[in-house]
Symmetry: C2
Subunit: 159 residues, 2 copies
Amino acid sequence: MTDLADLRLTPQRMAVLEVLRAADDHPTAAEVYERVRRTSPRIGSATVYRTLSLLVSTGRALELNLGDGAAARYDANTCRHDHAVCDGCGRAVDLDHPVPDGMMAEIARRSGFAITGYDLQFRGMCPDCQANSSDPARAAGGTGPTVNTHAKGALHAEA
Amino acid sequence: MTDLADLRLTPQRMAVLEVLRAADDHPTAAEVYERVRRTSPRIGSATVYRTLSLLVSTGRALELNLGDGAAARYDANTCRHDHAVCDGCGRAVDLDHPVPDGMMAEIARRSGFAITGYDLQFRGMCPDCQANSSDPARAAGGTGPTVNTHAKGALHAEA
DNA sequence: AGTGATACTGAGATTCGTTCTCAACCAGTG
DNA sequence: CACTGGTTGAGAACGAATCTCAGTATCACT
């Protein structure tokens, strides 16, 4: 872990951290930049990028790769958690449901890797998008799990 | 399943699919391009990109986002599987160890999402990199499991 | 305060992966 | 044969992220 000692808490860095802490979505670097500029209009994008990776490397933020092919996202919630990403609107919600330790150990044993962590994202439709896309009647109820194993290409092999 | 009907099997597309099937690593689009050019020197990169996303959208290939911030990777192994990514050398090995159904259902129930799939990557150090980075003595002896150390290996089926 | 070393900043250029544009090209159909 | 519509390849364009570099702020010491 990069020494915390040589990390100066400059106004720019504070501003970035503030924005990240205030965000409850998972903003991209560009979004962070845009928000930071509202309070620190003179900040440059390079500084935002630098600061974000600094925060990540010192454990003050998490970098998410939601695999939507687009930009990296950042999360000030540094506790171990996973995400469910909506195929409809792209929104990501936090999940608190760790992979069982036994599974990690098993993976480590089988692969020989020294496992240090994992990234897990579920994909699917958020309640809102289910409501909008499929028949709106059923959506309102919304409680149904509907573990729909069969949407586009996600999980089938075609031999 | 996106219609297979309207997918013309042109020589270029065949070449890309061939390369992907022959690969046991997880090549990036650029790597696929490079390999395809060995047999089809006149192919353009746009065609390779187009073909890859075509293959992905018709379920013939998987697109991986190994979160190393870099390019997307492609995998002709379309069976549901996960990966362990080495922080040292960036190599990714296949894992065959699905998340328990109960967990998916639980996530779906809690979040209200209609879960269609998930992406799971473990991070850590592969046996080789463990050997090289920590004391080299231990490396040779291979105290650990030392599964299939050779690069690019898929290590399903250890059991 | 003064001085030098060092870290930080911001603007712009640069790189890289990917997608878009568009003219030329083929493969079928009438 | 001409038409039609999907396909190709070259290069331009794009967005994300990083790099470069001169200027600036901050620290450690005197």
